[in-house]
Amino acid sequence: MSGRMLMKGNEALAEAAIQAGCKYFFGYPITPQNEIPEYMSKRLPEIGGVYLQAESEVAAVNMIFGGAGTGERVMTSSSSPGISLMSEGISYLAGAELPCVLMNIVRGGPGLGGILPAQSDYFQATRGGGHGDYRLLVLAPSTLQEGVDLTMEAFGLAEKYRNPVMILGDGFMGQMMEAVEFPSPAPVVSSKKEWAVGYTKERGKRAVIKSLYLDPEQLEAHNAKLQAKYRAMEQNEVRYESYQVEDAEVVLTAYGTTARIARSAIMNLRSQGLKVGMLRPISLFPFPYAPFENLPASVRHVLVVEMSCGQLIDDIKIGVGRAVPISFHGRVGGMCPTVEEIEEKIKSVIGK
């Protein structure tokens, strides 16, 4: 894989995982991410890997548990209702400190909802769909190239923190075609021989992969260890893009595909002389609170645009506090905000 190639989103994300050294995929079909398991079922046997179609998302996430316990690079992909089914298992993965990559190509909800793109699972991704005090490292690409880059990085991050990493995409990203380039993969730095199943002889000690601690003192200590990792993520892994914010009167904030649409609106309004910029969170956990806490003095208003009824806005409120007013524009159910809608909304908050 060299040079730029035109690829469908889901297939590009799948190939990125393979390029990053992921040889093992366990999943269950669900629209709109089916091209990922389909691509994996063709490619992985070619490279001596394993593609296994589970009987359910519940089984798939527990296969990830078993696979991740060997210390190898494993991945699953799904979409919103499937991630709900996996959420119990995701809690166990975090509790047992197993590195893996979970790809969530979000569709509209609640319930069976629809199959068109949405961003209505921000809370589920960042606040945990499963039980217990755990966090996922959540990365939200805005373009396909960024999706490829972040997917390739995700495996190393999962191993660095021994924690699941979620790539939060949306149905647009999965279905669109775009030119992408696969960067050279970073060298693998894995501590698997220290903790994974299969190294009893080398290590002189067996592995026990578990999340049960009946002794309350032990469970509190285990939680403290997990929290220390999450604090380290907050120190080291915050990612965001700042676009024309320096002199902005209105700062728009959006992630994923919505941020691409918002960028077009900002370019149009800038050409009309309006001072508009964007802060785009890339890591949703850890969330980039600092740029929102330290907005330039020129900023008079923050506008949150999402394909949800208002979920990202909670983190923006935590960051911005009461410094400036915050407005919201959201479309849901597979509807998406248009460039014109966003331009109008910005003009209305500026009062023009």
Binding site: Y24, E55, A59, N62, M63, G67, G89, V197, R206, S211
Partner: protein
């Protein structure tokens, strides 16, 4: 008086830890654990074996059997073992599951793992009751048998029929070895050991999925003394759950 020469004729298998088990008096989990550990020792596979613990009384099996172990979510051990074994086919993988874990919440996982012919071994403990949660009705609870959630005894019209897992899985084409044994009395224990060893050997020979259903006692939740429990197993469980081999490797 000459010196007495001592000969050790019985010892702990190498694959067991020195930890004292938490099981109730008269519970047969300890016997089943020992048979698994003896088998691992005899096959010389301790350093390349992984086990998957269930949720239930035997969740702590990883404290007693000294090999690589996973602790799975309730019922999901076959999914965990399927993936680990596919990634590490050089290892020997087993799950150890109770009847609530395997035959109730984990029914989908066990059926599909068996049907895929996953090259793993399942030790299925059937004591006809939920032990850890305190004696609730299991899918394997017998007709008329009382449990805390069927205080008048199980009835077909309300609770359906006790599930015969060994027979049900033996209808599938993929499994290599399926047997039902008991560990309630010494004469059964010897046969149980043979079956468990055969199941592991089936896996080592790459002949597909193997399962040994082990009829076991739960005196605490049956409300019986340990000796009465072994008799109850023989009188009530064995007629409904006949011992034997249901599928042999080709």
């Amino acid at each position: 008086m000459g010196t007495v020469k001592e000969t050790k004729i019985f010892e702990k298998p190498e694959s067991m830890t020195d930890v004292i088990t938490h099981y109730c008096p008269g519970c047969t989990h300890g016997v089943a654990h020992r048979l698994v550990a003896e088998t691992i020792d005899e096959l010389g596979i301790r350093e390349r074996t992984f086990g998957v613990a269930p949720v239930g009384c035997s969740v702590f099996i990883y404290n007693y059997i000294d090999v690589d172990m996973y602790e799975a979510a309730h019922g999901r051990a076959p999914a965990v073992a399927s993936a680990a074994k596919r990634i590490r086919p050089d290892m020997v993988g087993f799950t150890y599951q109770g009847d609530g874990d395997l035959a109730s919440i984990g029914m989908a996982e066990i059926v599909h793992a068996a049907n895929r012919g996953e090259n793993i071994t399942v030790i299925f403990i059937n004591n006809a009751i939920y032990g850890m949660t305190g004696g609730q009705m299991a899918p394997t609870t017998l007709f008329g048998q009382k449990a805390t959630t069927c205080p008048l005894g199980r009835e077909a019209s309300v609770n359906g029929y006790p599930i015969r897992i060994a027979e049900m899985l033996a209808t599938l084409a993929s499994p290599g070895y399926i047997a039902r044994v008991s560990v309630s009395k010494p004469k059964y224990v010897l046969k149980a050991k043979e079956a468990i060893k055969k199941a592991f050997q089936t896996q080592i020979d790459k002949k597909g999925f193997s399962l040994v259903e082990v009829l076991s006692t739960c005196p605490t939740n049956w409300g019986l003394r340990p000796v009465e429990a072994t008799d109850w197993l023989e009188q009530h469980m064995m007629p409904y759950y006949p011992l034997g081999e249901f599928k042999l490797p080709e």
